[in-house]
């Protein structure tokens, strides 16, 4: 789950990391009031789950409150990478002399949290990582001990020549790791960690992604989810216990298992079609999930045919068949349905489907070919 910048700043501040003041506005008038309260020049920053906000025109410097209101009016409602901006963060403009990068991810190769730091922070850090990887310093953290003081100071001294500043940065690195671990993050990032004119360090921008699997034990974090920043179909799918990702094609796919779902999309493409979605109904045997899945797929007007690909293991074929029968009774399908169903309780499933006037195929390739052809002629 992605957090907004203002939410990530709150977490860092609670962990003792220096974060400049700032408040969130949803209207130009609010932006004006906040800017007036902060005094002087401010930065108006779009709060959306997308990188490259600055380059997209979502971050603007304002000399005074009136200009802050004008920028906010322009940024609110703007679309960045398909997401509509609904909030802006207003924060004082700081004069900065240097920008560093601090980030933590879980590294698959070392199977540990990895702290990555660089003196070349700022908006081009991804470019730095590709072009000059030697400018990024890494530490695989032993989760039993966390980031030890000498490890943090060693990294900080690669970023700052001045010992006082290096000690301050080392402290921030340890606190960032503390925040990362406490909230169950899969990513925690400060970029830039700015050196201000008076020589102090401050986290000017922050990004935190929470591991979805942590949310059941962190209800306070789950409550931070901003469903308005996500596609409505994806919100509905999550609430129904399905994994759904909307794509641009015309063949709606409903599959059990993530790997088979991806392979089904690939096969749709192989036979000349385009998948309309990724949808994994999971391993459970609940006909209601199939009803929810069909409701979400049929809500997409670009879907011209629907393909079920079910290989029963834990998922029982008869449950899926019952779900299809229930869903089609409730939903009045306007597009053709192609069903491939094999595995656990296959005979029972086919009996249920046949009785309701459907037919089922047992071969995946054949089913995909038919679905692609039907999507084309429908």
């Amino acid at each position: 789950m992605n957090l907004h910048e203002y939410q990530a700043r709150d977490i860092l501040r609670r962990h003792g990391i220096p974060v400049p003041p700032g408040e969130v506005a949803t209207s130009a008038d609010q932006a004006r009031a906040i800017a007036a309260r902060l005094g002087g020049a401010v930065v108006v920053k779009a709060q959306v789950h997308a990188g490259g906000r600055g380059k997209a025109g979502g971050v603007k410097l304002a000399r005074d409150a009136a200009e802050a209101a004008a920028h906010a009016a322009k940024i609110l409602g703007m679309t960045i990478k398909g997401l509509v901006v609904q909030r802006v963060l207003i924060t004082p403009a700081a004069e900065i002399t240097a920008e560093s990068y601090l980030g933590i991810v879980v590294d698959r190769a070392s199977q540990r949290p990895m702290l990555m730091v660089s003196a070349a922070g700022g908006i081009d850090i991804e470019e730095v990582a590709v072009q000059t990887p030697e400018k990024i310093h890494r530490l695989a953290v032993d989760p039993r001990y966390g980031v030890l003081p000498h490890q943090a100071l060693g990294l900080a001294l690669k970023l700052y020549g001045d010992l006082t500043r290096a000690r301050a940065a080392a402290d921030i690195m340890q606190r960032l790791y503390g925040a990362f671990y406490a909230v169950g993050a899969s990513l925690a990032e400060i970029n830039p960690l700015a050196t201000t004119r008076d020589g102090a360090l401050a986290a000017l921008d922050a990004k935190i992604v929470i591991d979805d699997n942590e949310l059941t034990r962190h209800p306070e974090l789950a409550a931070l989810r901003d469903t308005s920043a996500e596609a409505p179909s994806e919100v509905a799918a999550r609430e129904a216990g399905l994994t759904f990702i909307k794509l641009d094609g015309s063949v709606g796919c409903c599959v059990n298992g993530a790997g088979l779902a991806m392979a089904t999309m690939d096969l749709v493409k192989y036979y000349g079609g385009e998948p309309a979605n990724f949808l994994d109904i999971g391993g459970s045997s609940d006909p209601q999930k199939v009803v929810s899945a069909l409701r979400i797929i049929t809500a997409d007007p670009s879907v011209r045919a629907i393909l079920f690909n079910i290989f029963g293991g834990i998922t029982r074929g008869d449950d899926v068949a019952n779900g299809i029968v229930q869903a089609t009774a409730q939903l009045a399908l306007k597009v053709p349905l192609v069903i491939r169903l094999t595995g656990t309780n296959e005979e029972l499933a086919i009996e249920i489907l046949t009785k309701a006037g459907f037919s089922a195929l047992s071969d995946m390739d054949e089913a995909v070919k038919q679905a692609v052809a039907k999507a084309r002629t429908a």
Binding site: R144, I245, G257, A263, D280
Partner: protein, 289 residues
């Protein structure tokens, strides 16, 4: 022969009285797996289905029954704790079916297992089966046939699809292993490939990968350097949009490493026969064997 599980496997089921645990214990018993014990705290002393003794702790279960393998069906919030308990009880192989374990839990579990010399398969995996010998997990027994092809996969149902194609064409399996779809897992492709290479009853290996991470690329290097047996490979997620999570947490394209195209290219460079679609597995095996 086979890898990791066979007739010597003495299995203890952690979470035997739960919904999934009880269902799949019956399936495994029906397949002929030696299920010697179950563990559910508070239910020690009961007999599951009149045949399997239930214990309160793993330590008791292992001490009483000499179980050497455990399988975990407990909920995600307590699954890491179940793995720690299994390692302390001294079983050599731990198979974790549970999906949704926080990745930071795994960063603590894996070094603990390593220090105790225990192997973990999974989490978030379908387990493994050595057809007609032992089934430890949820792979449907009826789609498998005994034979000489090794199968290793990050997926569940996609594995069933490919095993189904193999069995239908008369290619039985020595062992099918689902290593799991999470970013951090206990047993990698390389561990399985190396075991299949050493197994005298495996002639060729089918390897099923997906987008995200670099495990398939590392496996390709290993195959090139250390394997003489033919390997057939598949990568799911060729049409996946970059940066989106596709059900498996592991299937995330991070930066430039992890796309299907990249992985398929690494396979081809290593001399692995690359399937374009699951149905290609039989044709490619015929060519290579």
């Amino acid at each position: 022969m086979s890898i990791f599980v066979d007739q010597q496997t003495r299995l203890v089921v952690q979470g035997i009285t739960g919904r999934d645990g009880s269902f799949h214990t019956r399936q495994m018993l029906g397949y002929g797996t030696k299920v010697v014990a179950g563990v559910t705290p508070g239910k020690g002393g009961q007999l599951f289905d009149g045949v399997v003794p239930v214990f309160d702790t793993m330590a008791d279960a292992v001490a009483e029954t000499r179980a050497n393998t455990s399988i975990i069906y407990v909920p995600a919030a307590v699954a890491a704790s179940a793995v720690f308990e299994a390692a302390d009880a001294g079983v050599a192989l731990i198979v974790c079916i549970t999906e949704g374990i926080p990745v930071l839990d795994m960063t603590r579990v894996l070094p603990y297992l390593h220090e105790r010399g225990a192997r973990l398969i999974g989490p978030n995996c379908p387990g493994l089966i050595s057809p007609s010998r032992s089934k430890v997990g949820i792979i449907p027994g009826n789609i498998c046939r005994p034979g000489r092809i090794g199968v290793v996969s990050r997926s569940g149902t996609l594995t069933y699809e490919i095993v189904h194609q193999l069995s239908g064409a008369g290619y039985g399996q020595s062992t099918c292993v689902g290593i799991g779809g999470d970013p951090l897992i206990g047993t990698s492709f390389i561990h399985c490939l190396s075991a299949f290479q050493a197994d005298p009853d495996t002639d060729a290996v089918v390897m099923i990968g997906e987008i995200g991470g670099t495990d398939e690329q590392l496996a390709a290097d290993f195959i090139q350097q250390a394997m003489s047996k033919p390997v057939i490979g598949f990568i799911a997620g060729q049409t996946a949009p970059p940066g989106r999570r596709m059900g498996h947490a592991g299937a995330i394209i991070a930066g430039s490493s992890g796309t299907a195209a990249e992985k398929m290219a690494a396979f081809a460079r290593a001399g692995i026969a690359v399937m374009k679609r699951p149905a290609d597995v039989v044709t490619l095996l015929k060519e290579r064997l």
